[in-house]
């Protein structure tokens, strides 16, 4: 379905960016490697949220809650339940998040739009408040000390782990979207009732996308927890969810690579502009509004489209960009 030239240009750009990402630790100091490693946390969250909200149309505000659930579950299994083998605790955290994700997916089956957003927001808030309230277990706002995954002073292993997780997640999600499941998810987003009338078991696929994205969010949370070494309920506050949404919208809410690029760029910019204090978030809010107003599908697809447009004026068999309708009407008249 995709025109070969469009695919290869986009893939080429992504390839170059991947190469750059692989080379960063060789050319940067510890500060930027640390920043990069954190950027992968956001990239993983934003990409998985894009699948959930951008492709499947489920605008969930509980995404950070799943990241926190994974992180806290993994940490508490090690700290309080004596699970000494860290990878086991991590996998358990992911599985738990997937189960809870399925449960939440079941609860929100009949909800959509602002109702879904508010419901998932409420769930996130309840979880956050439980984390604060039960400080005997979670250490609440003081922070839970989490055993780190790698020892030694350098963040380089975390950087490459994070990058690896992002690439693996992208591959997984892209492959999923290429199958009929991807078509069904998009159909559900477009018109759930029409999808059902077309034979799609919308319940099954909505649950599936919640399970997959909760698992990925939990993976991000677990990565973050065992990298930074400390967890607080602040990872769940509404502004954090807002940051993820902003990154997704700016990068491209219907493009997985766009989501990753958006996350990385927004996070890098916010670090670069750190000396300007809160102005960088004022800029973010403004950027979010402007992108949504003028480039609804995000900047990455916009850039892709501009690139394609320029090639099209040169190509011999250009696909018409203008509305088809009038021409088709004429055909019908015959």
């Amino acid at each position: 379905m995709a025109m070969p030239s469009r695919v290869s240009a986009s893939v080429a750009v992504q390839g170059i960016l991947l190469l750059l990402a692989l080379l960063v630790p060789l050319a940067s100091g510890p500060y930027w490697i640390h920043v990069g490693a954190i950027a992968w946390y956001y990239a993983l969250l934003v990409a998985s949220w894009t699948l959930l909200a951008g492709f499947a149309g489920q605008f969930s505000f509980a995404h950070m809650a799943f990241a926190a659930l994974g992180g806290y579950a993994s940490s508490l299994l090690v700290l309080h339940l004596g699970v000494t083998y860290l990878p086991l605790a991590m996998v358990a955290g992911i599985v738990l998040a997937m189960v809870v994700g399925a449960m939440m997916g079941f609860l929100v089956l009949r909800l959509s739009g602002p109702y879904l957003a508010l419901f998932t927001l409420a769930i996130s808030e309840v979880f956050r408040l439980i984390l604060i309230a039960e400080e005997q277990v979670t250490r609440g706002s003081l922070g839970l000390q989490v055993p780190r995954l790698f020892h030694g002073g350098s963040d380089v292993p975390y950087y490459y782990l994070g990058l690896g997780l992002v690439i693996a997640a992208l591959l997984l999600m892209t492959l999923l979207l290429r199958t009929r499941v991807g078509l069904f998810l998009r159909a559900i987003r477009e018109d759930e009732g029409a999808a059902r009338a077309s034979g799609v078991n919308t319940t099954r696929y909505k649950l599936l996308v919640f399970v997959v994205t909760s698992g990925l969010a939990a993976t991000a949370g677990i990565y973050y927890a065992h990298f930074i070494g400390i967890l607080t309920p602040n990872m769940l506050i509404l502004p954090e969810m807002g940051l993820v949404i902003a990154m997704a919208v700016i990068g491209g809410i219907e493009s997985l690579p766009g989501a990753v690029i958006g996350a990385v760029i927004v996070f890098l910019l916010s670090e670069t502009l750190r000396e300007y204090g809160e102005w960088r978030f004022v800029l973010l809010g403004l950027a979010l509004i402007l992108v949504q107003r003028f480039a609804r599908n995000g900047l990455f697809p916009l850039i892709e489209r501009i690139g394609r447009g320029r090639r099209q004026t040169q190509a011999a068999s250009a696909r018409p960009v203008a509305p088809i309708a009038p021409a088709a009407e004429r055909t019908h008249a015959n």
């Binding site: 602002p114 419901f119 439980i130 978030f281």
Partner: protein
Amino acid sequence: MNYFALLAINGLVIGLIYALTAAGLTLVFSVLRVVNFGHGALYMAGGYASYYAIGLLGLPPLAGVLAAMIALFAFGVLFERLVIQPMYGNEVERKDEYAIIVTFGLTILLSNLAIVVFGPFSKSPPPFLSGTLVIGSMILPFDRLIAALVAVVLLVGLMWFLARTALGQALDAVSQSRESAAVIGINPRRMYTIAFGLGSALAGGAGALIAPIFALSPSMGELPAVQAFIIIVIGGMGSIGGSIVGGILLGLVQGFGVGYLPDPNRALAYTQAFGALLLIVTLLFRPTGLFGRPHQRLE
């Protein structure tokens, strides 16, 4: 007994402010079918607008509330025209998403702008009326009573406006069916603008009323915003009366919860969580809330 009465009155005051905030939110939802995720930021902006109107223009404190409402009305109209209006055309396919995203952007923009411009530390505007009312062993600051009274006046005024004036009835008509309203000559788009302006003004007014009581800070709108979302779902999205009942209910629960639960950390967290749990339960079992109408998608 007096402790109970004190908690009840404090809870009622908070509840009325919540109700006022929620009323603005529900008005915007019922007319535009948009949940304004920036509502908390508008509340906060109202508080600061009042503060500076009093400080820079020398207005008496209550007039500051009015100034804040006017300023926020103007801002709401501007934001609606510039950012929300494009959503109504055929260009935007997923209107729900668009609205959530841009109003979220508004929150990020305004909250951080407030930190930058006003500084992150709390400010205290002058009280409406110094002193306290003493009944038996209860001490009730006048500020709280005045805030509650003004909130009641505004809420009653709002309900009267919607029921009795031509403009209010036009808003109500659009909230029920925009096609039918258009047929009888009401311009829906003008109504959207007015509703958004009014909703913003109500939020700003609530923020201005609460500021002398609990102080101003850039993050002061975060909790009230979440409470407003909870209230409009519980009360029924689109029902002003539901917002009032829901607001008072939540305010009372918070007042009693914090007053009676032993562990302060847990008490605060769980009274806040109570509202969120109520929202969850409401959406699961009675999605139209206590008084609301069935949801219609924004076309």
